[in-house]
């Protein structure tokens, strides 16, 4: 049992079920991110934790107390809305202390709390302004201040950065992370941006179509995605998914893939259990950074396989160079050091780190190894 428990929760609107048997839990101080494409039910789940949407079935417990049916203001939670939802008629100071006022906190204490939060978020000089007189980033801070001042058990964020421009988004991301490390409070954070999810979270729930596809640490999600959806959704550029066939050679399982010329190539798999799939189709999943030039290959890996293949495109991106080639009839992206000398059209010696490769069942789309 965790600090925040979501047990077997479903949500229906009329006869339409939009969330199916969600089971997630977070320990105290964890940064839980709900990530998924638009319409997958992230906001709905968050609103159910907040108490703004009724729970159709299942339980939500915060700090050991089941909160189904408990009024939002009595759950000891605070929420930062996507639109910030700052009260337009109140000053920044009034916005931040409104919740305390509603909870009957005396004015001197409210002022003290306000001063603390304002200092923490560096908005001291804005307290007398109206929200309309603030920039996007400042509004974002005020919205966070309003949540912080309540000192809640759980913070809820619904896509708090999606209204900011790219640069500010990265800055605020760092600030939120700092804030979490400093305060150590439990946070549930909704986003559809997988980079935000990876960088901020201690635990991620990847959602799609109302199902939790995978729930785990960022590393688990990244290294061992539980199905093809998670594999392609998380990571940028996304995981290469290559149609292949398993064959056992010298007692070890190999994949057979078609290279750019249509030649069959053999790559030894690191998972012995895949021998059971001998002769059958699989989807081989390899992250771009697991395909490199031989010098750039991971030296700790026990199974780096050489692969000669023709390069179609190279895209130098400053810090890395992305190299496109063809495997199994699909475009494959490899991520190399910026100074790797690759040119389009040449036949290049790739190095594939098979320790990092995963395999999926093409029918069920689940990971098999």
């Amino acid at each position: 049992m965790g600090f925040l428990d979501i047990r077997n929760v479903t949500k229906s609107y009329g006869s339409v079920e939009v969330l199916h048997r969600v089971d997630i839990s977070a320990e105290e101080g964890e940064f839980l991110v709900l990530v998924g494409p638009s319409g997958c039910g992230k906001s709905t789940l968050l609103n159910m934790i907040a108490g703004l949407e009724a729970i159709s079935s299942g339980d939500i417990a915060i700090n050991g107390r089941v909160v189904n049916g408990v009024h939002p203001s009595k759950r000891n939670i605070a929420m930062v809305f996507q639109s910030y939802a700052l009260y337009p008629n109140m000053t920044v100071g009034q916005n931040i202390t409104f919740g305390l006022e509603m909870h009957g906190v005396p004015k001197p204490e409210r002022d003290k709390a306000l001063a603390q939060v304002a200092k923490l978020l560096q908005i001291d000089h804005l307290l007398d302004r109206k929200p309309a007189q603030l920039s996007g980033g400042q509004r974002q801070r005020v919205a966070m201040g309003r949540a912080l001042v309540r000192n809640p058990d759980v913070f809820l964020f619904d896509e708090p950065l999606s209204n900011l421009d790219a640069k500010l988004r990265v800055d605020m991301r760092t600030e939120i992370k700092k804030l979490h490390q400093r305060l150590g409070r439990t946070i549930v954070y909704v986003t559809h941006d997988q980079i935000e999810a990876m960088t901020l979270s201690t635990r991620i729930a990847v959602m799609n179509k109302g199902y939790v596809q995978q729930f785990g640490t960022p590393k688990e999600i990244y290294d061992t995605p539980s199905n093809l959806f998670v594999a392609s959704f998380m990571g940028s550029p996304s995981m290469n998914l290559i149609p292949a066939k398993v064959a056992v050679e010298n007692g070890a399982p190999h994949v057979v893939v078609m290279d750019a010329e249509g030649q069959a190539r053999l790559l030894r798999l690191s998972q012995p259990a895949l021998s059971a799939w001998s002769g059958r189709e699989i989807v081989l999943g390899v992250r771009p950074e697991a395909i490199t030039d031989p010098e750039g290959a991971d030296r700790k890996s026990l199974n780096v396989q050489p692969l000669k293949n023709r390069v179609t495109v190279t895209e130098p991106a400053g810090s890395d160079t992305f190299v496109t080639t063809t495997l199994g009839g699909k475009d494959i992206i490899a991520r190399m050091r910026a100074d790797a000398s690759v040119s389009p059209g040449e036949v290049f010696d790739f190095a594939v780190n098979m320790d990092k490769a995963v395999a999926f069942d093409p029918v069920t789309e689940n990971r098999i190894a």
Binding site: S73, M79, S83, A85, Y87, R150
Partner: protein, 307 residues
């Protein structure tokens, strides 16, 4: 394109930048024409009022003896004083004053109550939605289209049953019920554009139903409240039918009083007093328009354009 004439382009740098938000820069010729037409219409509407004012400060002999359009030779405010406090209305020489007071006593609470209830209705219909809320709203809208005459008899019966017949509270009730459809419509449409996330945020902050209404919704409702107040004030103040049907002598509104003044059959028709009385009857609505009129259009447009 006549709108971008050579002249306009040449003149522009010297002329101050017009502060108004004009979609198209009109040329001088077009502008002059527009102003001329507007002036003509203004005259057309102001002329009757001017005649009323002119004749209300003339002795009666000047009106009956000759020219209605001429300026008075003897300026006098006697007709105004008479209309206000001594003119014969019905059988009593009371002037319009008591009726004016009756109207104020009726209009102010009726406008206030119907506006506040309309705001509450709009708030519930947009932010506390429930099953069947759109149907309910549709039915309330229907109230806007019911002709006055249809409700006269049932309303009289209801007022009788409630013991409010012939009283100012009875009239207030009638006007509140009748105005609710309009005020609800105004506030519902205004609040529909108000972000629901704000209400949710306030809920999470611990504010209840009325607190959210009072602290979050009402402070931003100024423009639409002005619309509602103007609309209700004009309608209720100018109402004759309900006043004539449901009021007693001691609750009769201004409109009925004015009618009785003009129709009093004793002696000669004092046109100058009638004119003065008519202006007195129109004055409060005029005042409301002058004070709050510029918010009216703004309130009506609010929500239709984001920004």
């Amino acid at each position: 394109m006549s709108t971008i004439s050579q002249e306009a382009v040449v003149v522009r740098p010297a002329a101050p930048v017009p502060s108004q938000d004009t979609a198209v820069r009109t040329s001088r010729v077009a502008r002059t024409f527009i102003y001329l037409v507007l002036l003509l219409f203004a005259l057309f509407y102001l002329l009757p009022f001017a005649i009323m004012v002119i004749n209300s400060v003339k002795p009666l002999s000047e009106i009956t003896g000759g020219n209605m359009l001429a300026l008075p030779q003897d300026w006098t405010i006697a007709p105004w004083l008479s209309a206000w406090s001594t003119a014969q209305i019905g059988v009593e020489p009371t002037g319009l004053r008591p009726y004016f007071l009756n109207s104020i006593l009726m209009v102010v609470p009726a406008v206030a109550i119907s506006t506040i209830l309309g705001a509450l209705n709009g708030y519930v219909l947009t932010k506390w939605r429930f099953r069947g809320d759109t149907i309910l709203f549709g039915l309330m809208l229907f109230a806007c289209f019911i002709p006055f005459q249809i409700v006269l008899i049932p309303m009289a019966r209801m007022l009788g049953l409630m013991g409010l017949a012939g009283s100012t509270p009875g009239l207030i009730l009638v006007h509140v019920v009748y105005g609710l459809g309009f005020t609800t419509l105004y506030f519902r449409n205004y609040y529909a554009a108000f972000p629901t996330e704000l209400v949710r945020a306030a809920m999470m902050d611990g504010a209840g139903f009325f607190r959210i209404f009072w602290r979050i919704m009402l402070p931003v409702s100024g423009p639409i409240a002005v619309v509602s107040v103007i609309w209700q004030f004009t309608n209720i103040w100018n109402d004759f039918l309900f006043g004539a049907s449901f009021a007693d002598l001691d609750s009769m509104p201004m409109t009925v009083g004015l009618n009785n003044l003009v129709n009093s059959s004793t002696g000669v028709k004092e046109y100058n007093v009638h004119f003065a009385g008519a202006i007195l009857a129109a004055l409060p609505t005029l005042l409301v328009y002058i004070v709050a009129g510029r918010y009216f259009v703004r309130g009506l447009m609010a929500g239709s354009v984001k920004g």
